[in-house]
């Protein structure tokens, strides 16, 4: 069974058609990329999968259930986690607390007025795990708002990961980063995909990252699918080159 089936979804904003009849089927364990020029509808596509917006047409099936009109929190509970194009973290809390909140919610502890000793130990162990995977351990007690852009993004990714998602959606994870930070984040994503068999869809502008990571690439332009294939096929596709790659060059 496919993990995610997006069937012919559309989203209108007034007279603007931001996404126009896009379909996508994702199998467990895949790492997919969505690319396209500015305003192509990539983020809107994510927003419909995660419940930020409801589609104006089409259907979304996740893990066998129709989630088209579920509230965002319920989609998270079913296993969809995301990061945002502009970093969304809890800046005035420490890295540790950022992760801890995500872990506690994912462990069903969010309404607990106190923590039993064993739960507390389990949460702490999981915080330590996530810190270790991401190399954030030295900054664990710093406020996220004080960290570098790259470390803030890494924190956000680790928060999403703390939810133990079946599907992770990353909206331009390397946006605004220098070469070293881009490299680090790329390695982190690769590691998550390889070691945890995590299914990932990422939106990305940096072609090096896309070619390095993705097994399959979908190109959106003006809300519609322009092409869909392996990175090599996409690189060779003339329509894509004119609409997108050519424009960037």
């Amino acid at each position: 069974m496919s993990l995610l089936e997006v069937q012919n979804v559309s989203r209108h904003f007034g007279s603007l058609v931001a996404v126009n009849g896009v379909s996508m089927t994702v199998e467990p364990g895949e790492l997919r990329a969505v690319i396209g020029p500015n305003g192509a509808g990539k983020t809107t596509f994510f927003n419909m999968i995660t419940g930020f917006f409801r589609p104006t047409g089409g259907r979304i099936v996740f893990d066998g259930t129709d989630i088209t009109s579920l509230l965002p929190a319920r989609r998270v509970w079913r296993g969809i986690a995301r990061t945002f194009q502009v970093t969304e973290v809890f800046p005035a809390l420490s890295v540790r607390d950022n992760l801890r909140i995500a872990i506690e919610v994912a462990s069903g502890l969010r309404l607990r007025p106190f923590l039993r000793r064993d739960d507390q130990t389990a949460v702490q162990a999981r915080v330590a795990d996530l810190l270790a995977i991401s190399n954030l351990a030295p900054m664990a007690n710093r406020l996220v708002g004080e960290l570098s852009h790259g470390d803030q993004r890494a924190t956000e990714i680790m928060m999403a990961l703390a939810l133990k998602p079946k599907l992770l959606l990353l909206d331009e994870p390397t946006a605004g980063m220098g070469d070293q930070e881009t490299y680090d984040i790329t390695q982190l994503i690769r590691k998550l995909h390889r070691d945890q068999k995590l299914t990932i869809i990422l939106i990305e502008h940096d072609m090096r990252v896309v070619f390095h990571l993705a097994e399959r690439v979908m190109v959106l332009a003006q809300g519609a699918v322009l092409a869909d294939g392996t990175p090599q096929q996409i690189a060779a596709n003339e329509a894509v080159q004119t609409a997108y790659l050519g424009q960037a060059a």
Binding site: F84, F90, A106, R110, R112, E156
Partner: protein, 315 residues
Amino acid sequence: MRLDRRAADAVVWLLLLTMPFWLTWIGGYTALGTRVVVLALAAMSLNFLLGFTGVLSFGHAAYFGLGVYGLGLTIKYLVPSSLAGMAVGVIVGTLAAMIIGALIVRLRGIYFAMVTIAFGQVFYFIAYRWNGVTGGDDGLSGWRRLPVDLGFARIDILNSDYALYYWSLFWFAIAVLIMAALLRSPFGRTLLAIRENERRARFLGIPIDRHIWISWTISCLFVSLAGTLYALLNNFADPHDLRWDQSGDFVIMAVLGGMRNFWGPLIGAAIYVVLQDYISSQTENWMSFIGLLFVLVVMFFPRGLLGVLRRRAAP
């Protein structure tokens, strides 16, 4: 830092426990201390919502006032018992908050604040208009607090100012310790998460409206508890206790002391009560002094008076 906070907590509790003894040295009196404790409880309860959930209510006086009237009406018409009055006041205030909260919890920011005022005014007008029962504009008088009989002990809050102070402090302590514990719990951290970044919180799987509703209910529960204590202190229920400007006073206390600091509203309430006591004996216009102080604090110490201490203390 953790040690610092423990030390600060210890100092605050010590000062509160000994207040009736040192207050007279500096020219105060015990009932003034009780007033500080009771209004501090109200302001700290409001701040559970305002400072630690990030939700602004301008209508908390409604639940405070329901506590006041719940107690007064119970003692006057139903049961001559302070405890029964407190129970009724808290239950009525909390139930009203649960129902109204469910209706308004989807609203955000200024819209939420406006609607809390609107609902608050409804209760004010009921108290104001329902002359026969509530005493209307004159307030509810003709009743007094009664000594608390626990069976094994009798606490004479009627005749002893000390007893009333410690009775109030007892309830203050319970409420405040519960709120402090909650803020250190997973549930409390979800509230901080909502305050810090609602979008992130929602996409971590926190059902925002439900958590805000719970926070609101807890906040209003303790505010109505404060209301019942306030009624005991005054032996009187004033329709003003329900009005929007009373709500505003709670917000002022929280902001004055520092709403990001757990003890901030206590300091705010102390300043407010003391200024009110001293200045109102000199001039009618004491509120403009509070207003001036408020403006100065907001301009020069936007994090409140305790916010400054914190920044100084940080490395």
